[in-house]
């Protein structure tokens, strides 16, 4: 029953056909930010394991995390974390059945972009 007409169905046009839209860009960014957080996740995990292992291991991990490269990764990851968190909240709102109209979804899209940048600046200033 599931195999009826397999291989002879119209195909949906894909990314190269569609004009980029705010809703599609914010969706793709959600995926990119979520998966890119693996880098910061592994760095933080290494830092905690090194902390438990002792002063020498901690010194190595801490030096890497607080180096210019580590700080650059963390700066990007702070934005990614805020963006992904806000985008996740947006999904929870949608799943509850609210703000699904196109104009509302686009306003929400601009909302999470602007809020993620503001929260990143706030985090960097506070920390």
């Amino acid at each position: 029953m599931a195999d009826v007409n397999r291989g002879n169905r119209p195909l949906s046009p894909h990314l190269q056909i569609y004009r980029p839209q705010l809703t599609s860009i914010t969706s793709i960014l959600t995926r990119i930010t979520g998966n890119a957080l693996i880098l910061a996740g592994l760095m933080v995990t290494w830092w905690f394991v090194a902390l438990a292992a002792g002063p020498e291991a901690f010194a190595t991990a801490d030096a890497f995390l607080t180096s210019w490269f580590g700080k650059l990764v963390f700066l990007g990851s702070i934005w990614a974390l805020w963006y992904h968190t806000l985008a996740g909240i947006r999904h929870l709102i949608w799943d509850a059945g609210y703000l699904l109209e196109v104009d509302q979804a686009e306003q929400l899209g601009w909302g999470i972009i602007i809020a993620s940048v503001c929260l990143t600046l706030f985090t960097v200033v506070v920390l």
Partner: protein
């Protein structure tokens, strides 16, 4: 002879064959992370860069340790489930299975490494 009707067989399962279980679990984890992520960001951010003894003392305290424990375990499981969807969208066949196994093992290993580290610090 099959006693199940076609509708009964497909009901609630969808194209993934597992229904909405994955999505629902991810929803649960994401709701928890909405609370945990800001707490972790500011407790972890406040101590990183401090000397070793100070950091050890900080993470033997219950609240910073519990926030780190919960965020890193829930976060890594959420990551494992999220990256699984990414792989399923772009990779097929044996490579898909291998990639899902590798990323799932990595995520759970990282989560439990954090748990082990924090328990050692607490004891």
């Amino acid at each position: 002879m099959a006693y199940l009707t076609d509708r009964k067989r497909v009901s609630g399962l969808g194209s993934a064959g597992a229904g909405t279980a994955h999505h629902w679990h991810q929803t649960l984890l994401s709701a928890a992370l909405v609370v945990l992520v800001p707490l972790f960001l500011f407790t972890f951010g406040a101590i990183i860069g401090a000397p070793y003894e100070e950091v050890v003392a900080y993470y033997t305290r219950p609240w910073p340790a519990l926030i780190a424990l919960l965020t890193l375990t829930v976060g890594w499981v959420h990551f494992a489930k999220g990256v699984q969807v990414l792989i399923e969208d772009y990779v097929g066949g044996l490579a898909r299975k291998m990639a899902i196994i590798a990323t799932t093992c990595l995520s759970y290993a990282a989560a439990l490494a954090c748990v082990y580290a924090l328990i050692r610090l607490a004891l």
